[in-house]
Each structure stands twice: as structure tokens, then as C-alpha cells.
Amino acid sequence: MCSLRTLFSVVMSLLLVASPAMAMTSTNFQINWDTVSAGGADFGTSANFVTHDTIGGEAAGQGSSANYRLSAGYRLPETANLLGYEVRANAASPTPTWTVFDGVDEVTVSSVAGFAIGDLIAMVENVGLTQEVAVGRITAINALVITVDDFQGDTAGISLIAAGGDDRVYRLSSATLALGNVSGATVATGIVGTNVITSVPTGYSLYVHGNHLMQSGLNTIPEVLDGSVTLGSEEFGASITGPGAVNPGTDLGVTTTMRLVQTNGAATGGIGDRLGFSYKLSVATSTASGAYSQDTYYTLVANY
């Protein structure tokens, strides 16, 4: 449980960063932001409700230079309760093998070509239906050692000395997860990593759903129903790992119904909360050939 002192410090610091006018509260009302300098107003409310008055706002707008970008001026505290996240799939390359994991934040790879500081990466042990995954962001590269800010996911289960049949580090940089060609004798797997950062004190929830099932024309591949994608069965799904993951380690389908995959009842830390999705596709000999696709939506909302 957090100490109130720490919580208070964080909340106050967030307000200082995001709000030139401090939020004010009392037992009967709260003002999320309030700027008074010249004239004009857009709306106000009575007791028990929120006031969002703004008077003035000179020099509002965006500025930028080669080194920074600034959003300033009129009611900047729209950012006071900010939700931010990214969703990235593994790119086709680089995919070097790894040999040593320090259990925390360092992994030794066969090649660092194609990686850069700031990249989101996934370390995968035993690529396949039972793979284990940890996601981190690169903070340093020294020789063949990649250091990340923090690996989140299956860090406790991943071997310190690579023991899987196929152990890889992926760069997560693609909007699309290409699963390649699949036959009845093989399966396809891929990684999607998400990273949520929020200052909302009540935290957030992340949901996933698809525009339809994995589909090619009129043909569809059904979602996995038994908790495990199996070689030779026609099914598609994903398991997840990371802080706040809901039903981690179980293969679940992506359908048109929104499914909660991650939640946290408090603001995130500075690194954010990551989730590693292991997408798994298996087909049967009876599966109709075709180019199957699905738009997968990752919906992030604040808890209230």
C-alpha cells in the first residue's frame, strides 16, 4: 500500500508539471483548472460540480524547435489527467538470438544491429505456443548487451541462460503483426507490446477487441475456446503477460466483444505498465487458404 505522503507528492508533482493553475478542491466542489487573466468564459457550474472557467489565454498554442515541442497556453491542464499509450508489434527484423539474461534489465544478444536507444523490445524464450515474453525499452547498448529500463512480463519464468529451442529479441515497432505463412503442420506466433502511462489517480483499464474474427473473404478462423492454441487445430488467440494482466498465460480469442486485458487502480509509474501479447495462429488441413486479417483495437480508458 502506498504511503499517503508518496501519493500526495506524486499527485502534486503531476499537477505542477501539467497545470500552471493548481487544481482546487473542497468538500463540495472541485476545480480541475482555472485560469484568470483577461476575459471570457466558456462554462461554469454550481456546487457539487466542476468549474472549467478560462479567462484570457494569450500566447496559446503550439511551439516547436528542432529539439522540443511545446503545447502551451489556453487551458493546458487538459493534460492534467492524461492517458497515453502505444501499441507495437514485432517487426520482421531485427530478430537476433539471445544467450544471457540477468533476470532484471540486461540481455546479451547475437547482434545489436537494428536496435536503438528508445526502442521497445520483447525478449522471447522458446518461440512458439509456450513462449515466455518480457517487454522493455532500451536505455543503453554496450557491445552485445542491451539494457532496458525494466523488463515486464514473464521475467520470473525466463531462464538466465537461454534454454529454449529458439530464443529471440524482437524490436516492437510495427503497426501490423505479420504472421507469415501457416500450414497444418506449423503454427505462427507474434508479439504485440503495449505500454500505458497515466496520471489519472484512479488508474486505467485496457480492453481488446477485433473488427471481426481472423477472416479472409467469407472464411474465418475461430477464436480459441479451450484456453490453449493447439497445433493442427484451427484457432487463433493470444496470451498476455505483464503487470495488471487479466487472465495471464491463458490463450483467449479476440472477438468483436471488448475484453478487459489489463487494469491498474492507480496512476502508473514513470516507465508505465507494459503488456506482452503472444498471438498464436494454428490452422487445420481443412482450413481454406487465403490472406487472413483482423483489425485489433486496444481501447484505453480511465477508471473512475
Binding site: C2, V10, T45, S71, E86, V200
Partner: protein, 301 residues
């Protein structure tokens, strides 16, 4: 998790989101929770900020859905574009350049003859789909609107519970599970205090709802608050430091006072600073042993 990370890191990350978007490659939106209070047959316009932190132009579609409460953790269940979701007027889509943060006007018009009370709508900002093969990942953020239509609406707290997480602690601190139901017609945010009493009187007062959780009408909300240092310790030295930072001993009583709920609720817990007591016991034993040994020596002389 929250406490184990430096808040400086959080500030840095948020500043990175705001100031160096191309480094972070994220979709951002804020405020994530928007409160609006209006009379029926009136309108207002608010602004939300949407940021495209990708290194490319992106088009986002905008859509609204009403939501109700799902469970007791403050999570919404979306029920489609019905009811208050029809009150919103926004652009159908926006296109943002790489790294652009844009304030987006959102107008809300409450129709005539709408009953007083609160209405709840999510405005979704969705990355536009394309016709790529494979699994195409789409980002989608929902900004939650809480619209209070003014008039004869009310918040009514019922079935309130207040339970300490730990019955025995080693330093003056504890966490409390709180559950409150709202049988009113408008959402509410519990306010009040938790007073911690020792046998000598009130020793600590903490706010009842520091996170400003909300409770929708006809639903319940559970949450946890805490005070003091409750972090797990790694060794006996840390444990001793923690005990001394909030040194206390004996029975304590916590009294929850929820505004709008006339009955205070009490809960009890006990503070037992184990390591300190063991240490004191050892010191006393040594002193007694020395005293006994000294007397024995004196007798022998």
C-alpha cells in the same frame, strides 16, 4: 507498484509524452475524465487534447457510446450509441501531423425534458483502420464524460462498509477497504475523513477518498485507502526503521465519517512493533543479567 517507482520517473515520462512525442510514439488524450453540469435544453462546449505521437500523419475517428458501471472497480461497460451519446457534436474525424497535440472542441446539448441526474458517455478517439493483411493494431482511447443534468437529482449512499486490511500492524499505518453503494440518481464522489484514535484520542486524520473515485447511480464502488508506511521490508534493520518512523503500540480505532451518510463506521486494529519489542526485551534481559551478575560478584567478594 506505484510507490516502488520514483515519481520523478513518472514526471519525466509524462514530460516526454508532452514535449518529445516523436521519442515516445504514443496516442495521448486528456483529460481522461470530464465533468459537465447542465440544465436540460442547454448546451456547452469543452475541449479535450488529443496527441499523435507517432512519426507519421494519423487520422482518428471520433465516436460516442453510453456506459454503465461494470463491477465495483470503476470500470465502464459500454452499451452503444444510445441515450446521452446522441447529445454530442464533434468532428467525425481529425488528422494530426506527427507529434501534434490538438485541442478538440466537444459540444454537448442536453435536450428538453431530460430527467435530472447523471448521464455517462465515452468519447472514443480511434486510429482509423486500413486494409492491411495480418493483425493490424489500432489504438483507441476513451474519454469519459460525466454529465449532470441539473434539477432534482440526488446522491444516496447505502450499504457502506469499512474494513481494515490488516488486523495487526507493526507501525502506525494501515489500509482500509471501503465499499459504498449509490442508490441516487446522480453519480457521486464520497468525501469525508477517517480518524484514527488511540486510547489517548485522535492521532491521525486522513481523507476518505484521496483518489476522487466516483460512484454511478444504482451501483457500488470498492476502493482502498491507506496511511503510514506499509511497504514490505527486506530485513530486520528496515523493519526497525519502519517501526520507529511510526512508533506506536496497542489497540487503535478507525472511524470513517462519510458526508451524506449519518452513521460513522468504526473498525479496530492493533499495533505491535515486534522487532522493537524483541530488541527492548533483549536489552532488558541483558541489563537484568548484568544486574544479577554484579550482585553475584558482590556476594562473592
Amino acid at each position: 507498484m506505484f510507490c516502488s517507482r520514483s515519481f520523478i520517473g513518472l514526471l519525466t515520462a509524462l514530460m516526454a509524452v508532452l514535449l518529445f512525442p516523436s521519442e515516445v510514439r504514443a496516442l495521448t488524450a486528456g483529460p481522461a475524465l470530464v465533468d459537465i453540469a447542465l440544465e436540460a435544453n442547454s448546451a456547452t462546449t469543452v475541449q479535450i487534447m488529443v496527441g499523435n505521437n507517432a512519426a507519421m500523419y494519423q487520422t482518428f475517428d471520433l465516436a460516442t457510446e453510453s456506459f454503465i458501471s461494470s463491477g465495483e472497480q470503476g470500470q465502464p461497460q459500454f452499451i452503444g450509441k444510445e441515450g446521452a451519446a446522441e447529445w454530442f457534436i464533434t468532428d467525425a474525424s481529425i488528422t494530426l501531423q506527427p507529434g501534434e497535440n490538438r485541442r478538440l472542441p466537444v459540444s454537448v446539448r442536453v435536450p428538453e425534458n431530460v430527467a435530472p441526474g447523471s448521464y455517462h458517455v465515452a468519447l472514443f478517439v480511434s486510429e482509423r483502420a486500413s486494409a492491411e493483411s495480418g493483425v493490424t493494431n489500432r489504438q483507441r482511447i476513451g474519454v469519459l464524460f460525466f454529465i449532470n443534468v441539473l434539477g432534482d437529482s440526488r446522491v444516496e449512499w447505502t450499504n457502506v462498509s469499512f474494513t481494515p486490511v490488516f488486523s495487526t500492524v507493526s507501525t502506525l499505518g494501515n489500509a482500509f477497504d471501503i465499499r459504498v453503494e449509490n442508490q441516487g440518481t446522480a453519480f457521486g464522489s464520497p468525501s469525508g475523513t477517517v480518524e484514527v484514535h488511540s486510547v489517548f484520542g485522535v492521532t491521525k486524520t486522513v481523507p476518505l477518498n484521496p483518489q476522487a473515485v466516483r460512484i454511478l447511480p444504482k451501483s457500488a464502488r470498492s476502493y482502498t485507502i491507506g496511511f503510514g508506511d506499509l511497504r514490505p521490508t527486506k530485513n530486520i534493520i528496515e523493519q526497525l526503521k519502519q517501526e520507529w518512523s511510526g512508533l506506536a503500540i496497542g489497540p487503535y480505532k478507525a472511524v470513517m465519517r462519510l458526508e451524506g451518510y449519518d452513521k460513522p463506521i468504526e473498525a479496530s486494529f492493533t499495533v505491535v512493533p515486534k522487532v522493537t519489542l524483541v530488541l527492548v526485551g533483549i536489552v532488558l534481559s541483558v541489563l537484568l543479567l548484568m544486574g544479577w551478575w554484579t550482585k553475584r560478584l558482590q556476594r562473592a567478594v
